[in-house]
């Protein structure tokens, strides 16, 4: 009898040990790196889209895009410093587009995590809105009846990454007098310019409000450099001397403006 008990005991211990050897999932594998691809093609260039909806430029209210329009472009902006905020700029060989995006998830947007400079994106424009702000075409959604940012919840059905970010796009080197509407929202470079002497040594932006600084070329042509007070480099000082400046070209009711992405866009001064 005792022997039987001993055997039963051993059996129980073995059973226990077998059970003890796990059954709940432990560590997770690392998922593979997904190469983003799209299974459709663009059917319109950015230039054509701007042309197609040029009437929206003259209209106060935004226009709903009802056609199955797909555009593609390369991201040329970054919100890393916060100077460019709640939007991305994309461009192709025909023009650029200001795509207004609502980062609702976060007070501070981090589009640069997903939409890096050099990233090719496709946009399915149907059900989005085209409108203008100060004369600049914007692609987005309705907000208070005007053109506004496309809500986060629509991103997954309208914005598509294609491949990994490519090399940094080269800015188009232009001069101030040669600015044209087709350059709006594209990445440009202006060589041999200097800051207005009154503003040299001043911060890029005051702490309370977005600030304009004036850039001049040797012929006295000028352009506003507009910097958000929220930019991480806002309190850095405007340099003296002459150099080259890269940025996204904008316009507000006829006044040309330039937005830099970070201080690396201000090259060669001193």
């Amino acid at each position: 009898m005792n022997k039987i008990i001993k055997k039963v005991q051993i059996l129980l211990f073995v059973t226990v040990i077998i059970y003890l050897s796990g059954c709940v999932k432990g560590d997770f594998d690392q998922p593979p790196i997904n190469l983003p691809t799209v299974d459709f093609t663009a059917n319109m260039t950015i230039g054509e889209l701007n042309q197609y909806y040029s009437d929206s430029l003259n209209s106060a209210s935004p226009v709903l895009i009802t056609k199955d329009i797909i555009i593609k472009g390369i991201v040329v902006s970054s919100d890393y410093t916060g100077n460019i905020y709640k939007k991305i700029y994309i461009q192709d060989s025909t023009g650029g587009m200001d795509v207004e995006l609502d980062p609702t998830p976060q007070a501070t947007p981090y589009f640069y995590n997903a939409y890096k400079i050099g990233q090719r994106v496709y946009i399915k424009c149907k059900d989005m809105y085209m409108g203008n702000y100060g004369g600049v075409p914007e692609l987005g959604y309705l907000y208070n009846g005007a053109i506004g940012r496309m809500p986060y919840s629509m991103f997954s059905t309208h914005l598509f990454l294609d491949s990994f970010p490519g090399k940094q796009p080269t800015p188009n080197i232009v001069t101030i007098p040669s600015f044209s509407n087709s350059m709006i929202s594209t990445l440009i470079q202006i060589d041999s310019v200097h800051f207005d002497s009154i503003e040299v040594g001043q911060p890029y932006s005051l702490t309370t409000a977005t600030t304009n600084r004036t850039i001049k070329d040797s012929n006295g042509n000028s352009l506003l450099l507009r910097t958000s007070y929220k930019a991480t480099f806002a309190n850095q000082l405007v340099p003296s001397g002459t150099g080259n400046i890269v940025g996204i070209l904008g316009n507000f009711n006829g006044t040309w403006q330039l937005y830099i992405r970070d201080l690396n866009d201000v090259k060669g001064f001193n």
Partner: protein
Amino acid sequence: MKFITFLFLTICITWQSYAQNSTVKGRVLDNQSKQPIPGVTVTIQTFETKTDANGNFELSVLAGDYAITFSSEELTSYTSSVKVTESGLDLGDVSMSQKSSSNESGVAEITLSDSDFENDKSGQNVSGLLHSANDAFVNAASYSFSAANFRIRGYDGENILMFMNGLPLNDAENGRASYSEWGGLNNVTKNKESQHGITPSKFALGTIGGETNINTCAGQIRKQNNFSYALANKSYNNRIMYTYSTGMQENGWAFALSGSKRWAVNGYAEGTWYDAYSYFASAEKKLSENHSLALTFLGSPYKRAMQAGAIQEAYTLTGTHYYNPNWGYQEGEKRNAKIRNVHQPSVILTDNLKINDATKLTTSAGYSFGRFGTTALNWYNANDPRPDYYRYFPSYQIADTNVHSEIPALMAENWKNDPSVSQINWDKLYQVNYLANISGQSARYVVEEKRNDNKQLSFHTFLNHELNENISLNGGLMVLHSNTHYFKVMTDLLGANYWLDVDQFAERDFPSDTNAMQNDLNNPNRHILAGNKFGYDYNINYTQEMLWGLSQFRYNKIEFYIGLQASNSSFYREGNMLNGHYPTNSFGKSEKLNFFNYLTKGGLTYKLSGHHYFVTNATYYTKSPLPENSFLTPRVNNRLLTNLENEVVFGGELSYIYKGEVLNARITAYETSFNHQTDVKSYYDDQYHSFVQIALQGIDRIHQGIEFGADIKLTKEITATGALNIGNYRYTSRPTETLSAENGSVPDQTYKVYQKYFYVPGPQNAGTFGFKYNNSKYWFASANINYFDKMYLDFAASPRTEFAMHSLGVGPNDPVISEVTKQVQLDGGYTLDLSIGKSWKVNNYYLGFNLNVNNVLNNQDLITGGYEQLRFSYEIYDINKFPPKYYYGYGRTYFLMLTFRF
């Protein structure tokens, strides 16, 4: 002070007694196996003893008519009338039956393990820690009331003291005892001694909520070979448990071994799982008739995926009250971000010495050590990965009237249908990290583990001496040293190359100060890999010395006692990182705090007869603030709360007890006032980009109420049981709130909090009524209906300040004020519990089963807890912006256990 002097004088007076005591003795046997049962509590009047290793007991009482009660956690309590003559009484063998497969053990264990919620303060259920087989109210409170997080008299866990072989189990830093430290060891932790309320014990004076001592010495564990399997649908689905113990053998050795595994691949709430083990080994050697030595080693390692409370909108959108924001899919598999991983082994050496017939000395020394960790997602310059972040809800968009109405509707659709929206999107987090790798950036998303690893050394020696037939003297010396190491460790980089160890919030607020953003100036800009410590790193060292004494006086009609205790607590913080914000006060030791405290207790019992008792107890004591509540921002510096002071507690209770063969009942009125309490909580404030600590000081509260419990033996087989608590627990002061941002982006702010007469959270009224059936064929069944009411939500301090009122910008008597400040009352509710069990004897083998079904009617609408979010939007008051988070009690659950013994 006069009162204390009086107590001292009382001790010194020796009382003479002329009455002659008679001895009542006997032996307790299991009626199935006929084996003696050790550790059974035998009670006559207020005299109490436990059966020894051979089941024998002896009690001295005056001649007369009494009710004698036998009780233990594993046996069906048994009360009988006895007539004790002057020549004494020998009851011979008393047979007791096992509770059908210990039906309630599973309930207590499971309910306690259900505190899977992040917010431990509100999630921790203490009622199941209670034990008193002899008290109808406590029995009901620990099993039937646990469904709604009922707390005895509304007390916090720190007022329910747990001991193991005389050593304290309550955590030195947060005051709470954690059931999980001995979870899964049901068979070997049944041997308990306990008192409810203010009544002191022979092993400790206790405080106001009662004290329980678990005796794990192998000689006190009944001889058994016990294998059980349980199937359940709560936080775990399966449990296997095996216990082998020899009882005290003739060679003077006793051994006990126990092990168990509890697990669930999918727990009750979605995305939770459970993976727990436990082990126990105890050896006891009888060195002589009067001296034994026991060594116990035990541990309950567990890992479990946790559940979190959510706002009502999330429950409504997902259509379930068990929505859990902690998990999401990774390549089609569910992954939970909050994993608790704990392993805290203890070793205890216990010496039991009977110096003579009247004097017993118990000495224990113990060491426990291990890990306590909880994982969480962290992120750097990236979107909040938690699906229930407030901006992800449709309500956030609805609040903005400029947003086109299609948008919130679209978001609601996504919440309902797309788990990548309503849950964590792990695959996306990886892809974002991969993109960061391409551009050489640090991780955007990681999983980190917050660790509070505790080491504790404790020592307690206490003496129980019967001075004469009437007077017993008890006293002890306890020394405790604890060191808790707080730090973060990187668990999973989620495919990224490294994590940068800087304070990203400081980085944003102080962009030009590269030192300020360093978490550790001694190792700036460190690249953290999996397994590295980072973020914060400090220790809290705590030492306590305590001396206590208790004199008990027992006479024919009255009994009384007085107890005194003095203790000294000291603690300090030691920082192991030099924080960039606080280079002068983050690294090294803080000021050492020292608190002297004392406790007094007194009680009187009037014995009207062998059946009627009137008992009153009172206590007045001071208590050191807990280390957890003493530092303003301990993760980053040594700063202490100013004006730290001892808490003062004054409590009293008055009971009438009836003990009879048919009826057992107790009714108690109680009142306790707590003064000068301190509480520190923390939360992340995205307005300040910082963790913010909220320290409340000068919290006063009063807990008053009536407790009633009764069981009535209707027939030999059927017993009716009932218990009721009517409570009134209110805050009675306006404490001072200090807000401190860890990153120093705003100076400390101090406000007065208008919370006077607010209710202490949790159910204040609870009742249960039921029937138990036991027959001689070892069938067992019970049914209970439970009721909970007067439940209030835990509230945040910030909206109840003058500053908040100003910020609202509304005039006096504006209705919005009461909307913001009034405390939320939760709906009460009912649950129904049923259980059935039976055991069989086949030769010398015993087979048993029991099935418990809790909440049979599947009431899924009972909110059992929750809290208001500590963040308050001052600028624009919007009631929907930071709504409270709730937890719902489980619906219908079952626990089926099969036991095999030989």
